[in-house]
């Protein structure tokens, strides 16, 4: 293995990428606009929640309750008939429908403990949970205040002081932006190395390398460092200019430490990309295989939904995915301000995974190169 060859072949890869304007535009897009959109699209869990009210009471209290729902948490409630409400729920126009029965106010004043009914579209799980609890307490509050003639509720004897660490206001954008950076790092590493390898194979240039004094490990390492560098630089710029700059998201921990972690992750994912590029016979096969690998990597690594709630088997399977550990250490460093003393086990695991991927890929790559006709 000669370092000089690796360096030169890598520079060739970089030149090759630089000469393809469409690819450059796409790379630029995934590290800028795509991050911006992903960060700003994510609502607070309860944001603009669509709600409708069936007001069968028509009393001052019922309109008072209706008045308690306003943006940003809720959309201004629509007043609907029961039939419209059903339709709205069916079509997905409303997540919540609050049904205030006739004589609600008078029953309440007569201490008959009337009930209101809250219909929740439980297929929208994220809103269903938090929203129903929230609406419940809002209605309770309004009713209590009404009964006490507009005197606010008195102090609860045992208070629960809730604090959200690391993201006090639970801002979704913080989460969305960084997770999107991670997703795009994975996607790019796989496409840039894997698809580029297949292209070289389809055009016959890789074969030519093999009659030269170049060995497979040099070809592979060159691709990994050069494409890895592109992704790492993109990731770094994205974090500094987009996440911290444009989006103004505070980063708790050390960015360099995060980048070291990112480099380790990229090492593993670029090796994976080459592996996929080696086993796929054509670009068409690669397209399908890539999707089959990419979706689980993005969705099950803990970046979209928490890992704790996944079934055991999925959790254990995903421990071999580099992204799982990357998401973990990214959250640790960027949100919780964790230092090396805390995240080193993840670093070690990532490195081990990367080395294993590299080894297996090299073995396959060598085999494929030798049997290539």
């Amino acid at each position: 293995m000669r370092m000089a060859n690796i360096a030169r072949l890598g520079v060739k890869e970089l030149r090759s990428l630089a000469s393809d304007p469409i690819m450059l535009v796409l790379v630029l897009y995934v590290f800028s606009l795509d991050i911006y959109m992903a960060a700003t699209v994510m609502p607070e869990t309860l944001h603009n929640a669509p709600i409708a009210i069936i007001d069968e009471d028509g009393s001052p209290l019922s309109s008072r309750i209706a008045g308690a729902f306003y943006p940003p948490r809720f959309q201004l409630p629509a007043t609907v008939t029961p039939a419209q409400a059903d339709r709205g729920l069916d079509e997905g126009t409303y997540t919540f429908v609050l049904d205030i029965p006739p004589n609600f106010q008078s029953d309440l004043l007569a201490s008959r403990r009337p009930g209101v009914q809250l219909n929740v579209d439980a297929t929208r799980m994220t809103q269903a949970f938090t929203g129903s609890g929230y609406i419940q307490s809002m209605v309770g509050q309004e009713v209590t205040t009404f009964l006490r003639h507009d005197v606010p509720n008195d102090v609860v004897p045992v208070d629960l002081a809730l604090r959200a660490s690391f993201n006090p206001s639970l801002t979704q954008a913080w989460f969305g932006a960084v997770m999107q950076v991670i997703n795009n790092v994975t996607m790019l590493s796989i496409i840039l190395t894997g698809a580029a390898l297949i292209r070289e194979r389809e055009h016959g240039t890789i074969e030519h390398l093999l009659v030269m004094p170049v060995v497979p490990i040099e070809i592979m390492t060159a691709k990994i460092w050069s494409m890895g560098l592109v992704v790492l630089v993109g990731c770094c710029c994205s974090l500094i200019f987009m996440v911290q700059g444009v989006l103004g998201i505070p980063i708790e921990g050390s960015v360099p430490l995060f980048l070291v972690g990112a480099a380790l992750d990229i090492f593993a994912t670029t090796a994976l990309g080459i592996f996929l590029g080696t086993i796929a016979r054509s670009m068409q096969q690669f397209g399908i295989i890539m999707i089959l690998v990419l979706i689980p990597l993005q969705v099950l690594s803990g970046g979209t939904t928490p890992r704790d709630s996944m079934p055991e088997i999925v959790q254990s399977l995903m421990t071999i995915a580099p992204t799982t550990h990357f998401v973990n250490l990214a959250q640790g460093i960027l949100y919780r301000g964790a230092g090396f003393d805390i995240v080193w086990p993840e670093f070690l695991t990532l490195f081990a995974i990367g080395a294993a991927f590299f080894g297996v890929t090299l073995w396959y790559f060598r085999k494929a190169m030798n049997s290539m006709t």
Partner: protein, 906 residues
């Protein structure tokens, strides 16, 4: 007049490819276009064929203006075009007969007519035996014959052939021209326009057009050319016609004899070299010995094993049997030292198209370990020696073939190897450039004692070699000096001897025995071509795509099995249930009541208690490394204060790094806290704390247990039905662009919509199979009942898959390379589908640009329909408004596709 050009100009960017061409080509003749590479021959032919759009000037073909779309459509069925390159417009995985059927359908032929014509053509070309062989496994000569059959399937009045015999062995070439002659005899009035690099072929044509630098040099018969220039051969005549400056460099190639004393030192040796691919023996016990400084020619029909032999000699391929020796050492795959002494130039020029000429040379010099100090000097030396000074900063792709080939040779030579292996280095190179190339070869061999191993199809090149070896079907037939080979058969020319050897060896795979069939070809009336939308032409593309899919079973299986696997992983894996939250308590009170509070939390399925927290440092540390998602601090005197009813506060810390989960935890904790308070008040304190004066009754509809599977499984169907069909379709058009078969769209009557819809149909069908699989999986394995209308779901799924494949087609028509199409499709489908379509957060709650995207995504609406039919027991009556945007997206996307796809190359 078949073709009339007046003042036709054509530019590629800044380069002027055709310069004021004015030309008349008479009907019923065979007309040759000759000239060096890169002078505009191919451009001219593709213009006439209508494959390339006219930029400037006037072009009349078959009596009408080709710039007029109506005329172009009208004459399209009367013109046939065979592009340059072996089988470039054919489909490699399809069999011979499938390719023919594809073209026949494009010209609207019904089954009876089609079969009749195909049998006739296959019979007359001798391809009948190979009707079921995949095109990729045919030899070059057979590919060209098949290409001709495909061009003749619709009885054209104008046949345009772009270098049909380049890279084809002499025997096949002879057979090819015999075939053309027979066809012309039976179809009077047919005009044939041929571009060729073989002057001996051109000499037999009725009329010749000599071109140079985008201009017409002369028009006339071969005899007229010779008379005008006072030369004997057409090749010399052509050189004489060239402008002075171009001619200057040209000298006759002379081969000095090899010095007698050089014999003995064997550099390359093959001993019983054999290679098998499965049952097929590609190279069969090949033996030869090549001495230092020798020029060894390697001849043979296409696919006879020449390239395979070379690959074994370079160590690219391991032999199944036998040995290859270089410099007295056995060749192994890993011998890097040996590679340093060998230069290899493969059939496809292996240059990096993204690097300039100088960068290519430098890179190769460095890789071949030329000492750093010598690199610039070496590059300069190569540039001078191979006459590349003028193009040093150009990109290889923009250079004429001849120059590219010189560059390839320079690259192969940059490390001064002792052995050069050249695999058909002069295919497609014009005579002048070829002579120049040979002068360099001679120089290398005689001056520098470089051993040269070269394969070629040109007989005049073979004659220049010291020794030649004739190969056929993996075996060496003869190995001798050119004169010896000629003499051994008692023939006058090497070509004749070569043909004789091949015929003996059964190389005449397509003997002319079947020829009479052509003469009495049954008169089949060409059905008038329908110019509107034709279902048959559409089917032609659909069937072709289906066949390709069937020949690549891995892709189809992956697409089907992959979705099932993904459904499993995702259906179980994506869980929005928040449970098993790791929490720990810092209990500063440690009384019965405080422990009761902890137990209350630990007893719920949502929370899983961890070891107690010791102090704040422990708390911080464990929160930071993600060990705890919830930490609770119970203050000192908690129990006492609660019993006394004194106000106290419990501190809780929630990990907010995942905001969504954070909020859910918040509401859980609040709920548990309230429940505990109530319980404690009732049972311990005996009093009722402020009990709510009313009830809020919550009904979770559609998913009463609020479980993820019910929410996620129906939602995964749209995601998977989007990704896979879109990706399959995304490569369909761009692949044809990259491989060159897109030309069939340009020159056949198929319309853009037929082409696109035809390509779409198989993937839509595959998508529907996927849909059925996913629905069965959802209802059986996952147990999510389909409560609503299956018909509605199926209709929506169908419309949606059409829309998804249309997204793929848009990417495919827009992008120029497959890699960009893959990238674009992933960015364009995966991210929006997961984030903006309402998979996790309802679209109505989204914000910013993403919200806008969410509202126009077809996925959003199909998600509503999928959830509606699965969980909400809905049918067409309620859900039809969601179907409208999906259907609209199909119309918009397909229109965009048709707009982006061009019926002519620009």
């Amino acid at each position: 007049m078949a073709v009339r050009l007046a003042g036709v100009d054509l530019r590629y960017g800044k380069t002027l490819a055709l310069d004021e061409i004015t030309l008349e080509l008479p009907a019923g003749r065979i007309i040759g276009v000759i000239g060096p590479d890169g002078v505009g021959k191919s451009t001219l032919l593709s213009l006439i064929a209508g494959a390339r759009a006219l930029q400037d000037g006037r072009l009349e073909v078959l009596g009408g203006d080709l710039a007029d779309p109506r005329h172009r459509t009208a004459i399209c069925p009367r013109v046939a075009f065979m592009p340059q390159g072996l089988g470039r417009n054919l489909y490699a995985t399809l069999s011979v007969v499938e390719n023919l059927e594809f073209f026949a359908r494009l010209f609207g032929q019904a089954k009876a007519e089609r079969d009749c014509r195909i049998d006739d053509l296959l019979g007359s070309t001798g391809l009948l035996k190979f009707r079921d062989r995949p095109v990729g496994k045919l030899s070059g000569g057979m590919k060209q014959k098949l290409g001709l059959c495909c061009a003749l399937i619709h009885d054209p009045d104008l046949l345009i052939l772009d270098e049909p015999t380049t890279g084809v062995d002499p025997l096949s070439r002879v057979q090819f021209w015999e075939l053309i002659d027979r066809i012309r005899a039976s179809r009077e009035g047919m005009s044939v326009v041929v571009a060729t690099a073989y002057m001996e072929e051109a000499a037999a044509f009725d009329l010749l057009v000599a071109m140079n630098a985008g201009q017409v040099l002369a028009v006339g018969t071969a005899q007229e050319f010779r008379d005008r220039t006072g030369t004997h051969g057409l090749e010399e005549a052509f050189i004489a016609l060239l402008p002075e400056e171009q001619r200057r460099g040209h000298r006759i190639v002379t081969i000095p004899p090899r010095p007698a004393d050089s014999a003995g030192d064997v550099v390359i040796e093959a001993r019983g070299l054999t290679v098998r691919f499965g049952d097929f023996t590609a190279v069969d016990h090949v033996n030869f010995r090549i001495e230092r400084g020798e020029i060894f020619g390697f001849l043979g029909s296409n696919g006879c094993g020449k390239t395979t032999t070379m690959k074994m000699l370079t160590g690219l391929l391991s032999a199944s049997e036998g040995e290859a020796w270089l410099f007295g050492k056995r060749v192994t795959a890993v011998d890097v030292e040996m590679r340093l002494r060998v230069g290899y130039m493969s059939q496809a020029f292996s240059l990096y198209s993204e690097l300039t000429v100088a960068q290519n040379l430098k890179l190769f010099a460095q890789l071949f370990r030329v000492p750093a100090a010598e690199v610039p000097g070496r590059v300069t030396e190569m540039v001078e020696r191979f006459d590349l000074t003028g193009v040093i900063d150009a990109m290889p792709d923009g250079l004429p073939v001849g120059v590219r080939q010189r560059l390839s040779l320079a690259v192969a030579m940059v490390h001064k190897p002792e052995v050069l292996m050249l695999d058909e280095p002069t295919s497609g190179v014009d005579p002048i450039a070829r002579d120049m190339f040979w002068r360099m070869m001679v120089d290398l061999s005689r001056q520098d004692e470089v051993t040269i191993f070269i394969s070629t199809h040109f007989m005049n090149e073979a004659e220049r070699c010291d020794r030649i070896s004739l190969m056929h079907a993996g075996r060496v037939l003869v190995c001798d000096t050119p004169a010896g080979v000629t003499a051994s058969r008692g023939e006058k020319t090497l070509e004749a001897a070569f043909i004789a050897y091949l015929e003996d060896a059964g190389g005449s795979e397509s003997t002319s025995a079947a020829a009479p069939a052509a003469a009495e070809a049954p008169e089949v009336k060409q059905a008038p071509v329908w110019h509107g939308f034709s279902a048959r032409r559409m089917w032609s593309y659909a069937l072709r795509e289906v066949l390709e899919l069937r020949r690549d079973p891995i892709r189809g299986t992956l697409a089907l099995l992959g979705t099932v696997i993904l459904m499993f992983i995702m259906g179980y894996g994506i869980s929005l249930d928040v449970n098993n939250l790791r929490f720990a308590v810092l209990d500063r009170d440690d009384t019965v009541l405080s422990r009761d509070y902890t137990l209350n939390l630990a007893g719920s399925p949502y929370f899983a208690e961890q070891a107690p927290i010791i102090d704040y440092a422990d708390l911080d540390h464990r929160m930071q490394n993600g060990d705890l998602t919830l930490a609770i601090e119970l203050p000192p005197n908690f129990g006492r204060d609660v019993e006394r009813g004194m106000p106290i506060s419990i501190g809780t810390w929630i990990d907010g790094s995942m905001p969504q989960r954070g909020e859910t935890i918040q509401s859980y904790v609040q709920g548990m806290h309230a429940a505990w308070l109530l319980d404690t008040a009732l049972h311990r304190l005996g009093s009722r704390l402020s009990l709510s004066p009313m009830d809020v009754e919550i009904r979770f509809r559609y998913n009463p247990d609020v479980v993820s599977v019910v929410a996620m499984v129906p939602a995964m169907i749209p995601i998977l039905l989007l990704m896979i069909p879109a990706m399959l379709a995304a490569l369909s058009v761009v692949r044809e662009k990259e491989l060159g078969s897109i030309v069939n769209l340009y020159v056949t009557p198929v319309t853009r919509s037929e082409f696109l819809i035809g390509k779409q149909i198989p993937y839509v069908m595959l998508g529907m199979v996927n849909f059925v699989l996913l629905t069965i999986l959802a209802t059986t394995v996952f147990g999510v009942p389909l409560t609503g209308s299956l018909a509605m779901l199926a209709i929506a799924a169908f419309t949606f898959i059409v829309s998804a494949t249309a997204i793929g087609l848009v990417m495919s028509t827009f992008m120029r390379s497959q890699i960009a199409a893959i990238f674009g499709t992933t960015v364009g489908t995966l991210v929006p589908a997961i984030q903006y379509a309402g998979l996790i957060n309802p679209v109505s709650s989204l914000e910013g640009v993403g919200a806008g995207i969410g509202r126009i995504l077809p996925t959003t609406y199909f998600l509503t329909i999928a959830r509606g039919t699965f969980s909400k027991a809905l049918g067409f009556a309620e859900l039809w408004p969601s179907l409208v945007p999906i259907a609209a997206s199909v119309v918009v996307l397909m229109t965009l596709c048709i707009f982006l796809l061009k019926k002519q190359e620009k």
